[in-house]
Amino acid sequence: MTASFPLPTTEAPRPLLEARGLVRRFGGLTAVGGVDLSISQGELVSVIGPNGAGKTTAFNLISGLDRPDEGSIRFDDIDITGRSPEAVHAAGLSRTFQHGRVFANLSVADNVLVGAHRRLKAVKPAWPIIGPVAELALALIRPPSVKAEEAALREEVREILAIFGERLLPRIDQPAYSLSYANRRRVEIARALASRPKLLLLDEPTAGMNQTETAEMLEIIADLKARGQTILLIEHKLDMVMRLSDRVIVLDDGKKIAEGAPLVVRNDPAVIEAYLGHGGVGAAADPAAPAGPASDQPVRLSA
């Protein structure tokens, strides 16, 4: 082997996020039992699975809200296993929340500006005492550089909100509590985008949205992907997953039961079984499946 021509392009791209053997137990329940997950730069990977499969728990482990009992997580060549949410965010990861967590009393603009918090120059110095005191002084004195930065960010907030058309822009100064559920989900995504994340984690971005709104969100996510944004998506609406994803990971009962291209995954018998039901119940229901109440999901799967 000659070391004269190192050719990085011939190597497989290093994954941006690489989680190995993640385990999280709650008392006797194993919510996540040894899940591997990786995503490369520019990829859109979806995590699907029935309710209680451990999708959100896995998201919480990755984003630092919860600590894994076992396993390791590397992000952008840094070990972030068990690090605080602040540290994970500083590494370049932003997320939205399953049930929506906007800052209720803050205006739409302020919500999005909080997303850009880490980018503020005043926030940067992390030295104890001196850092916060300097931040306080800058906030009170507000030299021209601080004012210019704030003005530029406010302009950027308008640009980000424009992604959602006229949904949020007219409401830019309204408090978030006055928004509809769907609009709050949009604010969350805008907030995450304002941080310019290397990896965006979206936890059911279309929950509670109607068909038109879902289609709109699909366009927005597709657009983000086209711009090169790396996205890890949890989603229940399978047609959306099939259309957007480069790769799909299927969780059931805390374990990964399938992974691969959308076409491959949707025809995987294990996946169909996970959505249909397990063991005896599934077998008993099988003859009746085409007409039974469980027929909804498999029909979509093969659509």
């Binding site: 602040e86 965010h89 500083a90 009393n105 803050l106 909080v114 997303g115 918090h117 306080l136 906030a139």
Partner: protein, 607 residues
């Protein structure tokens, strides 16, 4: 020298009485997710009912006990019905504040009815003592122990064996599920408040007999001790509360044996902070349990704050400045000077509790730190007062933030309990650190306020100085709220989980809020010390902390103009109408109750 055996017995007896309180608190927390600050007041009522029964009606002991149980249980039902139940859908902190208001009302009513003087409860039990080893056990000790064990056993039987006991446990596990299964949760609440209050009342009458003295003000300390015991055992954990109480009793008793009586409470509060920091779910909680969600929630009701037009604010300021020329009434000027100083405190707390969502119940400690720092520097070292005022502000900011920093990782009610404990610790350190603070005697002859080398004795000059300080710092706070820090602090308040996910470190921003607010409070405390020329450990007590919170809520949490308006209303109006001191506290309690119930967003709205 009393023997260790005696200290152990004494610790267990005191622990038993704490247990009667803590079990009630744990029961109430279990079904209502509420820390009942009025619990100690029920205990006071129990003690005074006992006193009336024994001294006036001359009832025998069993009848006394029955009377106490019946009346305090009835009081518990009233508290639940009118104080707590209307707030079922309010933010979690609202009923907690309501119970603080209730405790003010109950304590002051008892004080007005029975005078503040201590009274002795005649012991109705023969003073037989049994000698064991190096010490002795009295009949009263055995009786208290017996009542404690009987109460615990019957409670256990009630919870495990009766239908309503099951309902209580079901409600504690999941209120909504219990309601869905047909459990009348309102009735469960009523039963629990009745039982808890009766236990507290019995505790009150027993402590009256044990120490042979009762006062209307002893309730607050009892509440605190019950809360400490409850936190030690794990909030809402009934057997844990019993173990926690006995442990607290022993720790205190041994601590007193080692260091003396004045350290008793210090041990209790240091234990509280240690448990909150190291094991916030109590000694018996399982490893890595996430804090229960219902403990979170801010008091900031969504509302549209009133926008004060600038000309109106300017006109009000001009009137305030011109006032000494318009009136000859020195008393009015003094009252308003006081109001400006309380406004500084209100600004401080409205930032910490309103903007940042950390409902502090120990804010008076910041006044004390500022006041003592400035007074001692000016008195001992003859430093100019303008400088010591400034240093007082910085000392409160620095020391206050440092002291409260262990609580930065806590949320919701736990913050309130921790700040309360820290406030008590500061007061106790001031009391016991005699070489520096002169202990209970206090610091007298503090140099007067001075500016540019001139001493300020003139009422009007002091008034203008206070107003200028307050106005300048209020403008500074407005500027802070308009910066990125304003939205960052409010983000921490609204959802600390989401805030952390966007890189907002809680320590840094809670620290900034406490430091900025601490500076204001420190200046206010220092100013007060020089204005009155005397302070001691009681000058800045917990009542002032609660008053500050009432000011902040009245004005609208987080609202700068609101804090000033709230202070003028709560400090100015009672003075102007010359309400007597004891009725004033009653008024504050009622004001807090009504606000929480009917106008949680305050006069000018929350920001």
């Amino acid at each position: 020298m009393t023997s260790w055996f005696d200290h152990t017995i004494n610790g267990l007896i005191i622990g038993n009485i704490y247990g009667l309180l803590a079990v009630g608190l744990a029961l109430i927390f279990g079904v209502s997710r509420l820390i009942n600050f009025a619990h100690g007041s029920v205990y006071v009522v129990g003690a005074y009912v006992g006193w009336v029964a024994v001294s006036v009606l001359q009832t025998p002991f069993p009848v006394t006990l029955v009377l106490v149980v019946a009346l305090t249980a009835a009081l518990g039902i009233v508290i639940e019905r009118f104080g707590i139940r209307p707030l079922a859908d309010a933010p979690r902190i609202a009923p907690l504040l309501a119970t603080i208001g209730l405790s003010f009302v109950l304590d002051q009513t008892v004080q007005i009815l029975f005078s503040p003087d201590p009274r002795s409860v005649p012991m109705q039990v023969p003073n037989w003592r049994i000698e064991i080893g190096g010490g002795s056990i009295g009949l009263l000790d055995l009786l208290i122990g017996g009542i404690g064990i009987t109460a615990a056993a019957s409670l256990f039987a009630f919870l495990k064996l009766t239908k309503w006991g099951w309902a209580v446990r079901a409600t504690a596990l999941d209120r909504d599920a219990a309601r869905a299964m047909g459990v009348d949760v309102d009735k469960v609440n009523r039963i629990v408040f009745a039982i808890a209050s009766a236990l507290g009342g019995v505790g009150g009458v027993l402590v009256g007999m044990y120490y042979n003295v009762i006062t209307p003000t002893m309730g607050f300390e009892a509440t605190l001790k019950g809360i400490v015991a409850e936190v030690v055992g794990g909030v809402g954990n009934v057997p844990g509360a019993i173990v926690g109480s006995l442990l607290l009793g022993l720790v205190e008793s041994y601590g007193v044996a080692l260091l003396g009586t004045s350290y008793r409470n210090l041990f209790a509060f240091v234990l509280l902070i240690a448990i909150l920091v190291l094991r916030p779910n109590g000694l018996f909680a399982s490893h890595r349990q996430l804090p229960p969600e219902p403990m979170t929630g801010t008091f900031v009701a969504p509302s549209k704050p009133v926008r004060l037009p600038v000309p109106l604010v300017a006109a009000a300021a001009a009137l305030a400045i011109a006032l000494p020329f318009l009136t000859e009434n020195g008393y009015l000027i003094q009252t308003l000077t006081n109001a400006w100083l309380y406004a500084l405190l209100g600004l401080s707390l409205t930032l910490v509790a309103g903007t940042s969502g950390q409902v502090s119940l120990g804010h008076a400690a910041l006044l004390a730190i500022g006041g003592y720092t400035s007074a001692l520097l000016a008195f001992n070292l003859n430093w100019p007062v303008w400088l010591t005022l400034l240093i007082g502000g910085f000392a409160a900011a620095g020391i206050g933030t440092l002291l409260v920093s262990p609580a930065f990782r806590l949320r919701g009610h736990y913050v309130s309990i921790a700040t309360l404990g820290i406030g008590e610790i500061v007061a106790l350190v001031i009391l016991n650190w005699e070489s520096v603070t002169r202990g209970p005697i206090g610091v007298a002859g503090i140099p007067p306020l001075s500016l540019f080398g001139y001493d300020l004795y003139d009422t009007n000059a002091i008034y203008w100085f206070a107003f200028a300080l307050m106005a300048a710092l209020a403008l500074l706070q407005v500027r802070l709220l308009g910066s990125h820090l304003g939205r960052t602090l409010r983000a921490v308040r609204d959802d600390d989980v989401a805030a952390r996910s966007f890189g907002i470190g809680l320590k840094r921003y809670k620290g900034l809020a406490f430091a900025f607010g601490g500076f204001f409070a420190g200046i206010s405390g220092a100013f007060t010390a020089h204005m009155y020329s005397f302070i001691n450990h009681e000058t800045f007590n917990t009542q002032i902390s609660v008053l500050a919170l009432t000011i902040a809520i009245l004005g609208g949490m987080g609202n700068v103009g609101g804090a000033i308006l709230g202070s003028v209303a709560l400090i100015g109006l009672p003075e102007i109408f010359r309400v007597a001191a004891e009725y004033r506290i009653l008024l504050y309690g009622i004001a807090l109750l009504l606000l929480v119930r009917f106008r949680p967003q305050g006069l000018l709205g929350t920001v």
